[in-house]
């Protein structure tokens, strides 16, 4: 099975790059590849222009220090039998920092995420979901990373807590200049957080561009479907598209363009040839056979019949 197939993107320093897609599209697999939890069968990941596959042990350790992660489920990501102070300081222990430095950095990290001073002696169960996610963020900060992979960091939190965490992440980025890879299925929060975004469908990137621009002017029909589904009621989506069928299993991905069975504009070529991600405008790449010619014949304001 190809969980992720030919995905190309780059994250700039101090930038937030968002990966958006529905379940099973491979966005978490991309995160795991970056975190070295999986090895790619083909292709490479470069960090500061150096391919990861060729890093030797000392460099690998430096890489692991520079790239940290915050996970979706703050309940599952924290060891219930460790005290919060030990959880937050543990990465420092693995990287050989002395006791005094561990203490100091742990306190700094807890303060940076807005947790009270007495938190270090408590256990994870004494905290609410939002506070536990703050603990997870503090743990990711102690090693002063350059990139943090955020895998659905707010989707398990209460609605009134989400913006607290999103704003906290924005503040940390502003102060420390960290890059984020934000993985989410929620287009609205990705638009709020990200500078650039990539839309994934069944293991492939179908569109990459500036976040606000992609959300207001989607070029790929799948992106347009997601934007239409996330458009608040009472507003007209930028491209009116019916939602056809369901996401197929990644084990049984369609030939050619994976989106063709659900695309109202599918042409014979879409069934046979997989489109490649191509720059159709400055700052915008799209993988779709409609570009560059066919798209001119499409009226994006026309409401197509459902199903």
């Amino acid at each position: 099975m190809k969980a992720v197939d030919g995905v190309d993107f780059a994250i700039n320093p101090a930038e937030t790059f968002g990966l958006v897609g529905e379940s099973g599209c491979g966005k978490t697999t991309v995160a795991n590849l970056i975190l070295l939890l999986h090895t790619p069968s083909e292709g490479e990941i470069r960090f500061r222009s150096r391919p990861l596959a060729r890093l030797m042990s000392a460099d690998l350790k430096a890489y692991r220090r520079s790239v940290q992660a915050v996970f979706q489920d703050p309940y599952g990501a924290l060891n219930p039998r460790m005290r919060v102070g030990d959880i937050v300081a543990e990465p420092l222990l693995s990287h050989g920092h002395g006791r005094r430095e561990r203490q100091q950095r742990m306190h700094e990290a807890l303060a940076a995420v807005g947790l009270p001073d007495d938190s270090e002696r408590k256990f994870p169960h004494e905290f609410s979901g939002g506070q536990r996610q703050r603990i997870g963020i503090a743990r990711a900060l102690t090693l002063v990373p350059e990139l943090i992979v955020l895998d659905e960091p707010v989707s398990s939190l209460d609605v009134s807590i989400r913006s607290q965490i999103l704003n906290l992440l924005k503040d940390i980025q502003r102060q420390m200049g960290i890059s984020y890879l934000l993985i989410s299925h929620d287009l609205a929060s990705v638009e709020y957080m990200c500078h650039r975004i990539g839309i994934m469908y069944l293991g492939k990137l179908v569109e990459v561009g500036d976040a606000a621009d992609v959300c207001s002017r989607p070029l790929h029909p799948y992106t347009a479907t997601l934007v239409a589904a996330a458009t608040p009621p009472g507003r007209t989506p930028p491209w009116q598209l019916p939602i056809l069928g369901e996401v197929p299993s990644p084990l049984d991905a369609p030939m050619g363009c994976a989106f063709h069975p659900r695309c109202p504009y599918a042409m014979p070529v879409c069934r046979q040839i997989t489109p490649t991600l191509t720059a159709v405008e400055p700052h915008r790449q799209v993988a779709c056979h409609l570009y560059p010619d066919e798209i001119q014949h499409i009226d994006k304001g026309k409401v197509l019949a459902d199903r």
Binding site: E22, S23, S128, G130, Q131, D158, V159, S160, I161, R162, S163, Q164, L166, N167, K170, H185, D186, L187, A188, S189, E191, Y192, A212, C215, S216, T225, L226, V227, A228, A229, A230, T231, P232, P233, G234, R235, I243, E246, V247, D306, R307
Partner: protein
């Protein structure tokens, strides 16, 4: 259609409902005086965060409460009849037959060892006294109605052979089969993908247009109720803090919680540099603050908010009610402590004055 003729009175009226859990750790006030009503054929959205009491409210209506929970007070008037004192035997004629229920997790709602057809047909045999053969045929029609492709084949399939979206549609088919007049849908789209979610909501609207069923739609997601519901009831701390027609609640939220919540949610295409956030956390229902449950997080908090009972429901502009002392001056008429919920309805749906 449905079992209840469309009349001017509410199909369901919940009045000052109180359901508490008695646990070793203390009393959990899950539902602490909830009132709302549903007119025949309309959709009411119950919105709230986890632990705000919306699911327990729904389970109290059907009296399907988990162990340790008891209804302590209030009324659940369904088609004019109070369900709270109704014996268990009587409830069986209500559940499934006159009030359908759709749950969040369709894999758990469907039995893995019975085929889809059996599970859609069974309520028809039980409630409508159809023969299995006739019920099976009707099951095929129902699956077609919920837009499951090749329903003649799908009826023989087992739940694991269907996708998540299809399972949710199949369990909806089972719920609407006996033609209930009210459907309670508890977070039916939360486990679904974004595009599947939208399809499912469109389907619910179609079913409603065809059958005239009334729907109570429970969700924590403000954005999805927007295109489905006629009216909204916002839950916080075991209470309905604000209720009214959808457009009014969205465009001019009146309760400080609703206002803050709507400012804290990112909306696509609404370019804000910084979302506002609500400080603090939602209260635990076992440790509710005195007075208004929102007062520790409220930016307008005054002395009256902090002690005593939660504020009563104040009626605004005839169509909405808000449980907030700030609105006492704008209030029209008598306090809406338990009745008069009919007044919170849009004019055309209101019952004729006695």
């Amino acid at each position: 259609m449905g079992n209840v003729a469309r009349t001017g009175r509410p199909l369901l009226e919940v009045r000052e409902l109180k359901t508490h859990f008695f646990t070793r750790a203390g009393i959990v006030r899950a539902v602490n005086g909830v009132s709302f009503s549903v007119m025949p054929g309309e959709t009411l959205g119950l919105v709230g965060e986890s632990g705000s009491g919306k699911t327990i409210t729904c389970l109290s209506i059907l009296k399907l409460l988990p162990r340790g929970a008891r209804i302590l007070g209030g009324q659940v008037l369904f088609d004019g009849e109070d369900l709270v004192p109704k014996p268990e035997a009587g409830m069986e004629a209500i559940r499934g037959k006159r009030i359908g229920l759709i749950l969040q997790n369709s894999m758990a709602a469907l039995d893995p060892v019975f085929s889809i057809g059996t599970q859609v047909a069974e309520p028809l045999v039980v409630h409508q006294k159809l023969s299995w053969k006739a019920a099976w045929q009707r099951a095929v029609e129902l699956l077609r109605m919920v837009r499951i492709g090749a329903p003649e084949i799908r009826v023989k399939h087992y739940p694991h052979e269907l996708s998540g979206g299809m399972r949710q549609r199949a369990s909806s088919a089972a719920a609407i089969g006996p033609l209930p007049s009210l459907l309670i849908a508890d977070e039916p789209t939360t486990a679904l993908d974004v595009t599947t979610q939208r399809q499912y909501l469109d389907l619910l609207k179609e079913i409603q247009a065809e059958t005239g069923i009334a729907i109570i739609f429970v969700t924590h997601d403000m954005s999805i109720i927007g295109n489905l519901c006629d009216r909204i009831a916002v839950f916080y701390g075991g209470l309905v803090v604000e209720a009214g027609p959808k457009a009014q609640v969205f465009n001019q939220p009146s309760h400080p919680y609703t206002q803050a919540l709507l400012r804290a949610i990112p909306i696509l295409g609404q370019k804000v540099d910084r979302l506002e956030s609500i400080g603090g956390e939602p209260p635990h229902l076992g440790r509710l603050p005195t007075g208004c449950p929102f007062h520790p997080r409220c930016e307008y908090v005054t002395e009256v908010c902090c002690s005593g009972d939660p504020p009563p429901g104040f009626r605004l502009q005839d169509t909405r009610q808000v449980r907030c002392w700030l609105r006492e001056d704008e209030h029209v008429g008598e306090p809406v402590r338990s009745q008069e919920l009919n007044e919170a309805l849009p004019r055309e749906k209101r019952a004729p004055q006695a």
